[in-house]
Amino acid sequence: MDLLTLITFLPLATGLVLVALSRLLPARTWRWVGLAGTLLTFLLSLQLWAGFDPAQGGYQFLHHVPWIPSYGIHWFVGIDGMSLLLVVLTTFLMPLALLGSWTDIEKSPRSFVFFNLFLETGMLGAFVSLNLFQFYVFWEVMLIPMYFIIGIWGGPRRIYAAMKFFLFTMAGSLLMLIAMLVLYFLHAEQFAGALNFDLIAAPGASTAGLLDTLVPIAENAAVPWWKTQAWLFFAFALAFGVKVPIVPLHTWLPDAHVEAPTAGSVVLAAVLLKMGTYGFVRFALPLFPVAAETYAPVIFTLAVIGILYGSLVAMVQKDIKKLVAYSSVAHLGFVMIGIFALNEEGLQGSILQMVNHGLSTGALFLLVGMIYGRRHTRDIADFGGIAKPMPVFAALFGIVVMSSIGLPGLNGFVGEFLILAGAFLVSPWIAVAATFGVVLSAVYLLWMYRRVFFGPCDNPENMGLLDLGLREKAVVVALLVPIVWIGVYPDPFLTRLEASVGDLLHRMEKTASAARSEAQPSEVHQAGAARSEAQGAEDLAAIRYGRSPR
């Protein structure tokens, strides 16, 4: 069986087997089998890591199976360096998330395991999809398990949070669905009516993919507005922007994070948010390069607002988990800036930073979960001086905080530095403003760390706190390994990104110049502006069909 397909469905298959075998198996067995399934998935994904050829720019491990061929819907998977990193991040974090909430879940623990496995398949499927329809299916499917994880195992306001999460994402993606269909028919218009959702040509086939579609730019008056790059980009950006989240679309995130159980928060922060940024890189940039370039300043501005706003709001939070949630808003702002720097430094930095944020924020949520499990509060004011009873916890928490602050030598710095350097090369002032966020991250995280861990341990409830057990230590240390590795020797990661990022930029440049030259003969059409719209569209189509599929 194809490796990517296997990796994608192994978690769900594990879950289904569990369901099929018997609900009567003890919850313990469910947990162990679930853990085994995720671990096996991780091991398989390491095979991807090993087998991936970093020198090659395009997609690898391609697998194409006709699904509904008459509509261009296929099972089409493949990865490049960017999706490779995110796939491995996902498979690496999933077992840790399960282990991290090993003892927390009391209410229907079996379903909890099942939904987590279901969720993993959803996320992996989205990362490996090379068919837009297939991507959309996974993009939406992923919501269902997450909705239940928050809604069933969440905190007191879980229903509100789950609903908010669901509606925000849904509202965003509906517009994307429409844009996808526009794109789909645009593609058909240009390629002799060929219906295809595949991003690129299937292996061995000569058909064109969606990425070969020439999306017109607005300079051409004969093109209706809803077919232009600007509007399609906007529709995609809205869907992805909610997920990232870009300020002001972010208010679902603190609620979802605070209410979600530990495993939910970890996955939400570490992987689900990356769906948004990944969506920009995978779809929005190569499909609408001109719009991406044109609206980069808008995104820059929003991202910088996100960094400063997220940091300042994080600073005044009283709940540790909410603080970490707002810090995500700030960190993802960095990622957005790097992406829209549209150069190799920024993009490589951004994708690395997606992984970094997954590791450090994932670790932070796990650690917060551990203290919550002991004290059943996350209020900063309830703590103080707990470095005394919990020295190991304090030390590990401290290292993760430093990674999140972007201390050189740990992972966060490498990503942030590349992002800021890349941004500075195109837009110095944006980079300067964003760099100020680096100062703020130290303020809010260290302030929280000081109030929780330092000072006298004078609350009697904190004096007897037990330090981390073996399982908990193992989970955190497992996360520290890549945190230090990327900080000290990021080369294996960066080399895997190099060719893919170069390929993306090259493709964008090519498509953008094609779209621009397409817009040139616009005088012809302006003359005919009086003619009926249908006629104009026909003319345009005639011009387009002349383009030979690659």
Binding site: M163, Q348, L396, F417, L418, F436, D491
Partner: protein
């Protein structure tokens, strides 16, 4: 450029040795949860810097014996960060400049490690505090060596932030006290503000060089590329002059980093509070090594500052004003370590004064001598503090020379060295600095010189005041401390003091001024400056012997006046200061409270920022506007619509939505799969 350097794999060992020490301690403490026996902890943590010192010596001789034309050792380990146009190697550079710094860091570092054995002996006997302390100390040394040995700005920045981390950890070492934890955090955050400037400087260099043919952060490559960017200018707001040289802008940005790390105005506020850490930490990190990193960076980038006269003038003036300002604050302090802290800020100001005047080797000279005598003073104060069972207030000291004769004598050597007693190390290095100001081509250099001389007088006053109040006069030691006994500290404490005292006396000979040397028949007697010449350009002027002697005499007179005044006020007529205090109570309070700068920052920056974030951003925009009005408002509207118009779809928004979605999906699937 590159062929002027030989390869040597010794350099990585210098960094790795203390790093290994730190990692061993860290793993034992953090994961194994087993404190090693004390003997083993001492062996590991003191051997690491001692070996690093020996390796540095070997490298130093290798460097000295390099064939003509080669002026540096390099050690490229691996590519650290490489993406697009940006490549930063993990590589080390050992040229005369880093050699001098490295010797100081490992040498003084080793002594302070030994001293710490005695100082930390009675601390935290059971919870691993002893080992934790040495873990941080070793880690600090590794980071400091990275900073010094880094071959490019990024490795330097790695060390730069690393020492900041260790400083944070060590200031807050006794974290059970809220104040210590607060001071540690303050140090880190203030340094981060400086690092913000440092980072912008790095980006500016990348940006400028990317246009000029190749982005690089490698010091020697930047130097080689300087001609391409020297002529470039950047537009700045008209009230700043409309147009600046790019080098000036870069220089100023990097200097912001130095201002943070080396505690200059306006970012000096963290250093006095950093005294919350154990005394060996104050000596090593907050006097001898880390805080001089800013000066080291300016000297390392001297090829850039030489082309940035505007930035250099700012550096010189910042240094001079800080020197004076901090010295006045030291006058009214009663905490023995606080006095030394302000004195450190003031001395760092001297170093920047020299660097800003283009006398980079004079700056490094003062870094070196200051490392010895300030470490001596701090460790001496630590011996006093230890003898008085952790009492730091000089109001509760006095007459201690009877109880602590050795400490008294050694401390006196430190005092004499810092006030520039003729012949001692501080005399030579301070004169070099003042001479540099006197002859510099910086706007207002006479004023700079005058400030320097005035500060020398104040320095002599407050240092002698400190010494007299501690060791002379009537004892003010509280009875309970006297009852416990006041004893000279252990030998592990005294021996490092003696070694430092030796260097405080004689280290000045390394920079014996050429004009004096010529008189004595020793050509090129300023061996330090000549050793540094391949890296640090000398100011071109030649100085007459008479000028040199005249300036020295003036500064010495000034110092003598200050010292004499202190003797008069605190030994002959000890009742006078109280009367002055009563007369000038407003002024005294202003100085004693450090001009209320901390309070000012708190009122102007910290509280408004927290207030706005909480009330406007969080409660106002996030919870109020976005969630309250837009989201919940539209939800209410939709619900209203739904109940009004679409009565049949009752049952809540999400359920309806879910049902519609599931039905729709099934319908589509059925339709698609029909054939």
């Amino acid at each position: 450029m590159v062929e002027t350097a030989a390869t040597s794999e010794l350099l990585r060992c210098i960094v790795l040795l203390p790093l290994i020490g730190a990692v061993v301690h860290g793993v034992m403490l953090g994961l194994v949860r087993r404190e090693l026996p004390r003997g083993l902890v001492i062996a590991i943590s003191c051997l690491a810097p001692a070996l690093a010192f020996l390796v540095t010596l070997v490298a130093f001789f290798q460097l000295r014996d390099l064939p003509a034309g080669q002026t540096a050792l390099v050690d490229g380990v691996y590519t650290w960060i490489g993406a697009g146009r940006l490549v930063a190697e993990m590589s080390f550079l050992f040229d005369p400049l880093s050699a001098v710094m490295c010797l100081i860091v490992t040498g003084v570092g080793t002594l302070i490690h030994v001293y710490s054995i005695g100082y930390m002996d009675d601390d935290h006997r059971d919870d691993g505090g002893f080992q934790r302390f040495f873990c941080y100390l070793n880690l600090f040394l590794a980071a400091m060596l990275l900073l010094v040995l880094g071959d490019n700005l990024l490795v330097m920045f790695l060390g730069w932030e690393g020492v900041g981390l260790c400083s944070y950890l060590l200031i807050g070492f006794w974290f059970g006290d809220r104040w210590n934890a607060y001071c540690g955090m303050k140090a880190f955050v203030v340094n981060r503000i400086g690092d913000f400037g440092f980072l912008i400087g790095i980006f500016l260099i990348l940006w400028a060089l990317a246009d000029a043919g190749g982005a690089t952060l490698d010091f020697r490559e930047i130097q080689a590329a300087m001609p391409a960017i020297v002529e470039r200018t950047v537009a700045v707001p008209t009230w700043l002059g409309g147009e600046w040289r790019l080098t000036t802008l870069i220089g100023l940005c990097l200097f912001v980093g130095a201002v943070g790390k080396s505690a200059q105005i306006p970012l000096y506020v963290w250093l006095p509070d950093a005294m919350a850490g154990p005394t060996p930490v104050s000596a090593l990190i907050h006097a001898a090594t880390m805080v001089t990193a800013g000066i080291y960076m300016v000297c390392r980038m001297s090829f850039l500052y030489a082309e940035a006269p505007g930035a250099s003038a700012v550096i010189a003036w910042t240094g001079a004003i800080t020197a004076l300002f901090a010295a006045t604050m030291a006058i009214a302090q009663t905490d023995i370590k606080k006095v030394l802290a302000y004195s450190t800020v003031s001395q760092l100001g001297y170093m920047f004064l020299a660097a800003g005047c283009g006398a980079y080797s004079a700056a490094i000279f003062h870094v070196g001598t200051h490392a010895f005598f300030k470490a001596l003073l701090f460790l001496g104060s630590g011996a006093v503090i230890l003898a008085l069972h952790h009492e730091q207030d000089t109001d509760k000291m006095g007459g201690l020379r009877r109880h602590l004769p050795w400490t008294h004598k050694l401390f006196a050597i430190g005092v004499l060295a810092i006030i520039g007693f003729p012949g001692l190390s501080g005399f030579f290095s301070k004169d070099e600095v003042l001479l540099a100001a006197y002859t510099a081509h910086v706007p207002g250099h006479q004023a700079l010189w005058a400030i320097g001389v005035l500060t020398a007088g104040i320095t002599a006053f407050y240092m002698c005041r400190l010494h007299f109040r501690t060791f002379f006069g009537e004892s003010r030691v509280p009875q309970d401390i006297v009852h416990h006994g006041i004893h000279e500290p252990a030998n592990t404490v005294l021996v490092p003091l003696a070694v430092l005292a030796f260097f405080s006396i004689f280290a000045g000979l390394a920079g014996f001024p050429d004009p004096y040397g010529e008189q004595l028949g020793v050509p090129e007697s300023n061996s330090l400056a000549h050793f540094l010449e391949p890296v640090l350009a000398q100011p071109p002027h030649h100085v007459e012997l008479a000028t040199e002697l005249g300036l020295a005499a003036l500064a010495t007179t000034m110092a003598a006046l200050g010292a004499g005044l202190a003797w008069f006020l605190y030994v002959s007529r000890p009742e006078l200061p109280a009367r002055f205090r009563a007369r000038l109570s407003a002024l005294h309070r202003l100085v004693e409270n450090k001009y209320y700068v901390d309070e000012l920052y708190d009122a102007l920056i910290v509280r408004p920022l927290v207030g706005i974030s909480d009330r406007v951003l969080f409660r106002g925009i996030d919870a109020g506007l976005i969630d309250g009005v837009v989201i919940n408002g539209s939800a209410r509207t939709v619900r209203g619509l739904a109940s009004g118009v679409l009565k049949y779809a009752h049952g809540g928004l999400a359920q309806g939505y879910l049902v519609t979605m599931v039905v729709g999906t099934l319908a589509v699937l059925a339709w698609l799969l029909r054939g």
